[in-house]
Symmetry: C2
Subunit: 352 residues, 2 copies
C-alpha cells in the first residue's frame, strides 16, 4: 500500500453555481481543497462588488456547513466537512473603470473573460476583441495587478476554436506585457506552445483533459457526462497537456473546471456542457501521476505553482491519499460525476 | 409555389432492423422510395440464404402493409402505403465459398463488409484485412459480379477513422479491379478524392452528412439525435461531399444510412449511433438541391446513378415534392427523427 500526502491542494478553476446546487457541490470541494477560484458565470453574472461579496458569503456558508447528507462518502462524514476553505472570487469581465477596480481588487483574485455565448451562462461576455474599447480596463488591471482569466475559444469549428483563439492571446499578451493572463482549461498543443512564447501567459489544465480525447466523448457510444467546453481534442493535444502537467511546468496549475449540471440536463436531447469532477479530482490526479511515475510533481501542479503565480497563501490542509480502490458514486445529489460507478485506483485516506 | 418530381427514388443504404421497429420504419421508406439497400447487421447478422429470404419477406410484409397508425402524416394516409417497393438485400460479409455465392447471387444486391465492432451490431465483422484469407471470397464476388459494400473505418481516433481506412480501399481496389466496391456513407474529402483514383470505387452519401458537421453534434449543446457513425466531420469535408452530390457525380448515390433507435437508447448516458432520416430524406434533399440551384441533378443523385452503378431497374414510383413547409414530427412511433419539431422548406405533395 502506498500513500501520498498533498499540502493545501488548490482548484484554480471551479464552478460552484448557486442555491441548492451550491449547497450540493460546495462541500465536496471544501473537503479536500484549501481554496478554489470560483467562476462568476451565474445568472446574472457577477459584475458588482455587493453581489460578489454576497456570493462569497453564500459559498463560505455552503462550503463550511455540514448540511449535506453525505451517505455516499463515509470518509467525509468521519472527517467532518470543509471549514478551512477559501473561495477566491472572480468578477465577470466587462469594461470596468479604474476606481471600481481599485476598490474591488482586494476582494478578487482576477477577472474572468468569456467571449459572448461561448459556454454556459456567457451570453453577457465580450462580443469582439476591440482593444481600443478594452484598453482602459486591461491597463488598469495590469497596473493594479489583477490577473485576467480567459475562456479562450472563438466561435469557429468546434475542434479549432481554441487554436484559433491563440491570436487573441498574442494580442493581449503583447499589448499588456505586465498583465498576468491565465489561459483557462487549455486543451490543445497550440495553447501549450504559447506558454513558452509570452512571459505573462499561464494556464490551468483540468483532470478530464488529461485523461480523455474526443474519442472518449464520441468514439464509441456518445457520452454526455464527458461532454464539456472546450471539447476534448486529439490524442496529440492530450499528450502535450500531459507533458506539462506531469512535469509540473511552473506556468501551469490544476483547475478542475468541475461544472455540475442536474442529471436531466446532461442526459437529454441537447445536453449541457460540463464535466463534474470536484470530488474525484485528487484521486484521479494521484492515479495519473503515479501511473507515469511522477507523483513527486503533483504537489507543484496542484498547489505550489498556483501559489507562486497568484502570490497566494492558502488555508492549511493536508490531504492523504492511498492507492486503494475507490468506487465513484453514481450520483452526488442529482449530479452525475465523471466515471460514475467506475473504480479509481486511489482514495482519500484522510484530511487534516 | 414550385414542385419537383422524382422518378423511382432509391435509398442505397438503409437500416430497417426487425420486429416492431421494422414495422414502424419500413412503411416510412416504402411510401416514397422505389427500393432500398437493406443492411444485414441484425442480431445475429444475416449470413445464410434461408435467413436472408425470410428477412426479405418480413421487410416486404412490413413495407407493404398499412398496419402503421400514421396519425402524424396525413398525406401518407391519403395516399396509402408502400406496395411498389423492392428491398435490395445484402449479406453480412464473412468468408463465403464460391458455391454458396453462386447460389445466393440472384437474391442479393451485394455483400456488406463491417470491420469488427466498428458500429451497431458489427461485432461479427472482419477483424483484420488479411487479403490471403479474404481472396477466395472477394475473387468469387468479382467473378460473379457481386458488389462489395464497405463500412470504411479503422478503430483509430474518431475524426481520422475514415481517412485512415483509405489504405484498405486502395488495397481492395487494386487487388480486385473488377470488383465493384461501394464506399458506404462517406464523410471526408479523402474519400471523395478516392473516387477519381480507382475506376471500381463508388460511394453512397447520406443527407445528414451533406447538412451537418461535428459542430452540429457537439459545438453547442450535445445533440444525440445527430450522433452517427461515421461521425460528421469538418466543414471542408462537408464541402467536398456537397460538391459531388450536387453535381450528381456519376459514381455517387444517395444512401440515407437512416438508422432507427428507440428514443431511450438515444437520450441516455451512452447514446447509440444513428440518425433517423428515412421519412424526411427526400424533402431535405429537395430543399438542399434547390437552395444550391441544382434541383435538376437530384434525379441522378437519388436514382439514376444507382440504377447505372448496380444495373437495377426499380419499381415504378413518381414522387412529387412541393416547396411548402413541412413540420417534422417529434417522433415516428418511438423513434425521434433528425430535425424533430423543426420545419423543412419542402413537403411530399403526392406519390404515384
Amino acid at each position: 500500500m502506498k500513500t501520498h500526502t498533498l499540502l493545501m491542494p488548490l482548484d484554480m478553476h471551479l464552478h460552484l453555481r448557486d442555491g441548492a446546487m451550491l449547497e450540493t457541490v460546495g462541500p465536496l470541494t471544501s473537503y479536500t481543497f484549501s481554496g478554489a477560484v470560483v467562476m462568476p458565470n451565474l445568472v446574472p453574472p457577477v459584475t458588482e462588488k455587493e453581489e460578489l461579496l454576497a456570493y462569497r458569503q453564500r459559498v463560505l456558508t455552503a462550503c463550511g456547513q455540514s448540511r449535506y447528507d453525505v451517505e455516499f462518502d463515509d470518509l467525509m462524514e468521519e472527517e467532518g466537512l470543509g471549514g478551512d476553505f477559501e473561495p477566491f472570487m472572480t468578477l465577470f469581465y466587462q469594461n470596468y473603470d479604474r476606481e471600481f477596480l481599485d476598490d474591488i481588487k482586494e476582494e478578487i483574485i482576477g477577472i474572468k473573460l468569456y467571449p459572448a455565448g461561448i459556454t454556459t451562462n456567457s451570453e453577457g461576455g465580450v462580443k469582439s476583441f476591440d482593444l481600443d474599447a478594452m484598453r482602459p480596463t486591461l491597463q488598469a488591471m495590469s497596473d493594479l495587478e489583477i490577473p485576467l482569466l480567459v475562456h479562450g475559444e472563438t466561435n469557429g469549428f468546434v475542434m479549432d476554436r481554441e487554436a484559433e483563439f491563440m491570436n487573441v492571446y498574442e494580442l493581449l499578451a503583447k499589448n499588456f506585457p505586465k498583465l498576468k493572463i491565465i489561459m483557462e482549461h487549455i486543451t490543445t498543443k497550440a495553447a501549450v506552445e504559447m506558454l513558452e512564447r509570452y512571459e505573462n501567459l499561464y494556464a490551468t489544465i483540468t483532470i478530464h483533459h488529461l485523461l480523455i480525447t474526443l474519442d472518449d466523448v464520441a468514439g464509441g457510444m456518445l457520452q454526455p457526462h464527458l461532454f464539456c467546453k472546450p471539447i476534448a481534442k486529439r490524442p496529440e493535444d492530450r499528450e502535450a497537456l500531459l507533458k506539462v502537467a506531469l512535469d509540473a511546468h511552473p506556468k501551469v496549475m490544476f483547475g478542475s473546471d468541475s461544472a455540475p449540471h442536474p442529471q436531466h440536463a446532461k442526459e437529454s436531447c441537447g445536453c449541457a456542457a460540463g464535466v463534474f469532477t470536484a470530488p474525484i479530482a485528487l484521486q484521479l490526479l494521484c492515479e495519473l501521476f503515479d501511473r507515469h511515475g511522477k507523483l513527486e510533481n503533483l504537489q507543484a501542479f496542484v498547489s505550489d505553482n498556483a501559489q507562486s503565480i497568484y502570490a497566494i497563501c492558502p488555508e492549511f490542509k493536508e490531504v492523504t491519499l492511498v492507492n486503494t480502490p475507490f468506487k465513484v458514486p453514481e450520483k452526488y445529489g442529482n449530479v452525475v460525476p465523471m466515471y460514475a460507478g467506475k473504480t479509481i485506483g486511489w482514495s482519500i485516506e484522510g484530511v487534516e
